[in-house]
Symmetry: D2
């Protein structure tokens, strides 16, 4: 299978609302995107549909930077979709911001997509041969073109979408706003989350359930892998499930639990916070160590550290303080070598760690530099021992479905043994989460999961 | 004694550096201010002194918003002072930003002050009678005028400052940059913190020691209450201690430990984090309760919650998730009532709290609305019981030294009994920190402390 | 023939450079666009081609607002194209800014177009039936799609363009940048100007020759109506003239001379300033009047007023002063009725006009309100008589080729006789340019001209 | 007498309104400042007085950049003053923007001043000896301090101001807003203009009468040199004329007519445009030349060129076109040498100047580089002869009253003979305005004038 390494790989968030109550759709979308800001900080946008006319506002920046009260008040409509975008490869072109709004034979259409097509290159090539012209480098634009073409052959957008989904390989959740309908779908493997919620008589869809809590929507259910859900005035809610397969065979990305999702989200029946606590508990059972204090690297290691403390009986404490004002736009004063990014961001609580044997928990090690710095700072502050615990297995395989993994050369775990890494970061011991117990961290999950980045076993390759 | 309720009351942060090593003073000041951002988010500024000429850049906004790489590169000098400012009363006039830079008979002078003069009105009136013209409403400008006048009578700025300090009543830490000297002083009661640090052969002063960690300075000592410290090329470091009194009689503001300071700072020998953990431990001893989980309101209640869990043996957990993107500029979508500020900021971990008896710890209750909302959200998520624990005593007296307390009418604790408050917030039990044990939370403190806002007993009133 | 009144009608400016000398293409394009700013103030953009990779920067705003030194320094390449855009209908969507950059089967392509397709709707419909998806409402996107499709059938972009030109009806000048070529063309009627210039060994094309003077390029020749010119490394300059017809039958828009173009441009051999002076001279011969002073409405009537003064022998003077700081972003303080836009912009020189019989010259009357205001201001200042002279014939027909004419209901000349208009504006006499002498104002023109907006006789309709 | 060359020398504009009709004072001030924008483009500000409380908004930038609709709507009051500021020496400190707002024993006071104190240093020194502290480098702050001190001794602000005026030497117009009064005054020599206008029952004062036309105020009279005018609710308009001397001995700056003022203003009874036309007429009588066309350098030489053409009988024409989009923020693309500032700004009308003998008129020559460039461009375009005419005498003396003249080394006229300069600029002839006829250009002036910059004879030095 052809893999395109040069295209953008994205982990983003989508949202949609079909209003039957007179809500302010733009503001609800804004709040939902704000709740999912962690899924993408590069750009964001909201498209609204007023009487079949679609307006869209999008730009670089965080949700609260891009939108202000005036902009929101101009975005009126009875439907809205929104998107937050992440761009790992430094491609920050404004044209790539979503939603995309297009005009085609059937009028306007707005399009927001989270995920990554593994057959992007093939699809793009076919379209180009048919005369297609692209103005972005997004997967979303490919799907938009396919949909416009398929729509010519079929009477309904949802039927066209069902046909298009058969052409797509990869992970995605898509929200589409046509002149009269809101349509949502999820890839047949179900690799990316997408849930349905309800506020009074109105419907919402979102990548993560934390968005529902923020807007006080009730969780209804997850969109099924391969399912298309259609919201409109005439028929309410309908579903097309022809593409769906046995849910147990589906492959939710395990990295959503470990890293991507907000800890207060629930994905396919499984609480993300509970999954992370379980990683800590299992770590505590793996090569246990005598220690005085368990601490988490803020904010990424806190959940697992709490689980570790509960399982091990070692007291949980706060050994590191994070500066809450560190933001995307923080300028590192590089001219002064002593002012490192880590020190600007994190500080050690000296009186707390002095003379103690510390277990420090984090969710991953990528290049190892931050980790080494923290171990060094703890030791400098008087910690007697520092035992590093990582709540994911070593990261040794690429991901073709949207997780932005560094090149092998930059992945510590590909180049070194665990003992070598322990030595490099200066810890007294180092334990990774045991890959064979990954299934134990998602006991309540409704479906299967993909752990290709830890195991090299991917969906599609073996079907 | 005359109290002026209409002037600004401030809790800010100051910093100064006297460089002997060739450091980039502006960037070090930037990093230090960034570390003390929690002391003031309204405006900030940096003044540098190059060959006796002082340049200053200041504006509304957070440190990383006001300064960028270009601005920092323009601020060159062998000395610098900086300031972060908080404006509780909504007065956001740009002229009030500090440092103030003045020209007087002896050349230029830059001025940064943290604190609050209780005899502001009297001093201002006297100056006006002598023809003074003010362009801001800051205490700093008053001191600047007094200093310029006193300087005419004395040969040295520091002598003039010593004389001026005798006229001032209230809490303050001041950093002054004259053409050739950096001068720092602290009020004679020592109500606001100010510490001296060292980087190689260069000296720094800062309101909080967390700034030292960020810039990798070594802590040297606290400036003594009433002390003036002078840094210059010729004499290195000198001190004027004529105004100092018995340190045990000094009155460090207890609210610095409970609320203002960053938990990784050490003030007058006492770790702020440890003080907060002690409040939690003492709370656990006061009206103990049977429960399944201790949680802290993020971020204000986390330290005390950890102490509570350690003392009570009830597991520490995470029951609330905070949206890290909530910032100063977040626009609350007020048109939609359902989108409350609390929900946009904090969410409950349902699977974690469901069916549990919860102890929730926070540092204070002001109006009680947020607290009631959180209790409600926990119960809605299935918590069986919610026991509220507050790590400070009820707030019943005004502060005349810089702590911005609401009017009595807005202070829940002034209007209601504890039982009434418990009822209003909907908690199953409510316990405040016992005021008589306040001395136990700062066992390592070098001096006395002021707890006037809890007891109504103030310095100056009784001396 | 189908006319689409809802699409954007544009009068814009294009520029392109193919560099063989190592010039800074982005900065030269910037200066050229700056010189043509009068052709479009809504948005602008520059695309550069570096080793077949195309980068583009575009935004709302004036050229000097959109670009700064940093942005220009990032735009590197051996070719560049630029565009300034005008949006008469208030459609200010960022997606409509040009150049458009597309990716298709043959790589990237940048596209800038000035003009208006009269068969836009038909072409759009055909493309949509073939599955095309549009993301803007520009004519340029239509041509871009046609070109991509045609390119699949032919070996070269220029051949594809020649085929596409046969499908287009309307006025346009187009500059295209493909990975290796710069291509320029002009509509077969030659309704919009486009000229070729040379700087040392490098080639430039621009909508107006004033751009050449600004960048010190030598004028080479006009692109012929229907001609395609190709610049590349291998072949230098080539031309495809298959679409060209007899130049005398071509139809340059007369409004370019009267209104659009900058007076220092030369179009099809005719100086714009000289054409405008000739309108004044002919006006002076038409219904001559006894007067003391000839003044022009700044800046639109100055050239014709000079011609009028020269022909009539009445002294030329300055009776009106324009505030040079009036800009696009000027906020009219509407709350105060007395502060009218005209008064903020123009003032009368009282001492100059007092007691005088004035001939006031302007280029057109649209709604008549500004004109009435000026007559009123002159009379109020003591002018004895005001004789209005308009250097164009009455505007009575719509334009289908890019001139943004108001609806008939808003056109004074469609609703009233000249005498009625004279009465409405309060002038002592009113004379329009005699339509039958239009041919006399462009004695040096190389081709025919279109005066459809004055006569109702259009190209295409009668061929 | 001591002259301070290091302080700022300013030519600014002031405005004030005392409203008795319910006008929107901020918007009227905005429009008036907009009309006087030519007097200062560096910064501007408006202060309003609502029920004795003064609010002020000021910043760097042009009037339309600093203010927007929202800001204006927040500035409410029954009085307002405004200021536009020019900073010739590159000192662009925000603190120097005016109006200055101060708090002193009698409440708040806002202060706007145009001009330059020649005894600034002495006054500043005396104030400093009395303990004064300055926060700007403006003359205005000096006067503000003197006024606050004097006010302690006298019962009324206007009496204090009369006393202060006796201490001041130099040129100035001042507008002061106290809690209940608007006060305006003009220096005793009357070197800077200041006029009184009326709108219905409300009063306005402005540096130039063009502001009155813009806001439709009627001109009442000039403030007399040395006069203080007081507007308040109780007494209407009052005047203090004790400082006034014989008007004929007063010294209006001749440069206001030649250069500073807008041509539609009338100063001390003399129209600025007429004065400029007279310079052209007198030039035409001085060393007359045979030529085909008179042109003015836009916009500075247009008025004088019209006068020259009228007197000489040589036709007036347009030979140079200015790019109206050239603004303060225009970034010159310096990397490309060919893109000079002059070419970006001005272009030659080739067809108009070709083969002609041209008289080119401008108001001054400073360094001569622009002039040389224009002569070169005209010749390059085919002009047979270029005769340069300058409508002011050579600039050979410094100004101590606010006119920002370059150092002697940079003044062409100080270093070279007229013949040398003619040679350097490449003109066929060069004639300056004859200094001995300066009195002829202001026949209607009510008072004397200062021509120190041309003659070296200054007020104060010789009294």
């Amino acid at each position: 299978m052809l893999i395109d390494n040069n295209k953008l790989q994205e982990e983003c968030g989508v949202f949609g609302i079909f209003d039957n109550d007179g809500f302010d759709c733009a503001r609800i979308t804004y709040a939902a995107l704000f709740a999912m800001q962690h899924r993408g900080q590069e750009s964001c946008g909201i498209a609204v549909n007023q009487d079949t006319h679609i307006d869209c506002y999008k730009n670089h920046g965080l949700v609260h930077e891009v939108f202000n009260d005036y902009v929101l008040s101009q975005l009126k409509g009875r439907m809205a979709i929104g998107h937050v975008k992440y761009s790992p490869k430094g491609e920050t072109g404004a044209p790539n911001a979503q939603p995309l709004v297009s005009r085609y034979i059937k009028g306007q259409m707005a399009f927001a997509m989270n995920g990554c097509l593994s057959n992007y290159l093939e699809l793009k090539h076919e379209l180009e041969l048919a005369g297609a012209v692209f103005q972005t480098t997004t997967d979303a634009e490919i799907v938009m073109h396919l949909l416009a073409r398929e729509r010519l052959k079929t009477g309904r957008t949802e039927t066209a979408l069902a046909n298009v989904m058969k052409m797509l390989r990869g992970s995605y959740s898509i929200v589409i706003m046509s002149p009269k309908k809101l349509i949502a779908c999820r890839d047949i493997m179900g690799m990316r989350p997408l849930s349905i919620g309800k506020i009074e008589n109105s419907y919402v869809v979102a990548s993560e359930t934390c968005a529902f809590d923020t807007i006080r929507a009730d969780f209804v259910r997850d969109v099924a892998p391969g399912e298309i859900v259609i919201f409109d005035k005439k028929n309410g809610v309908r579903t097309i499930a022809d593409n769906c397969m046995d849910r147990k065979k589906c492959k939710m990305c395990i990295f959503e639990y470990i890293y991507f999702a907000r800890s207060d989200s629930v994905i396919e029946g499984m609480s993300v916070h509970e999954a992370r606590k379980l990683t800590g508990k299992i770590l505590a059972q793996t090569n246990p160590v005598d220690a005085d204090l368990v601490i988490g690297v803020p904010d990424s290691g806190i959940d697992a550290a709490i689980g570790y403390a509960q399982e091990s009986g070692i007291p949980y404490g706060k050994g590191l303080v994070i500066n809450r004002y560190v933001g995307r736009t923080f300028i590192q004063p590089t001219q002064e070598e002593r002012l490192t990014a880590v020190r600007l961001k994190i500080n050690v609580l000296k009186d707390t760690v002095k003379g103690k044997r510390i277990v420090m928990v984090d969710d991953s090690i990528v290049r190892g530099t931050t980790c080494a710095k923290l171990v060094d700072m703890l030791k400098e502050a008087g910690a007697k021992e520092v035992h590093m615990r990582i709540s994911s297995p070593p990261f040794t395989w690429p991901c073709y479905f949207g997780t932005d993994v560094p090149d092998k050369e930059n992945l510590l775990a590909c180049q070194h043994t665990v003992e070598e890494i322990r030595d490099m970061i200066g810890a007294d011991s180092l334990v990774y989460f045991p890959v064979e117990r990954l299934n134990e961290i998602v006991p309540d999950i409704n479906c299967g999961f993909c752990d290709g980045c830890f195991t090299g076993v991917y969906p599609y390759f073996h079907d």
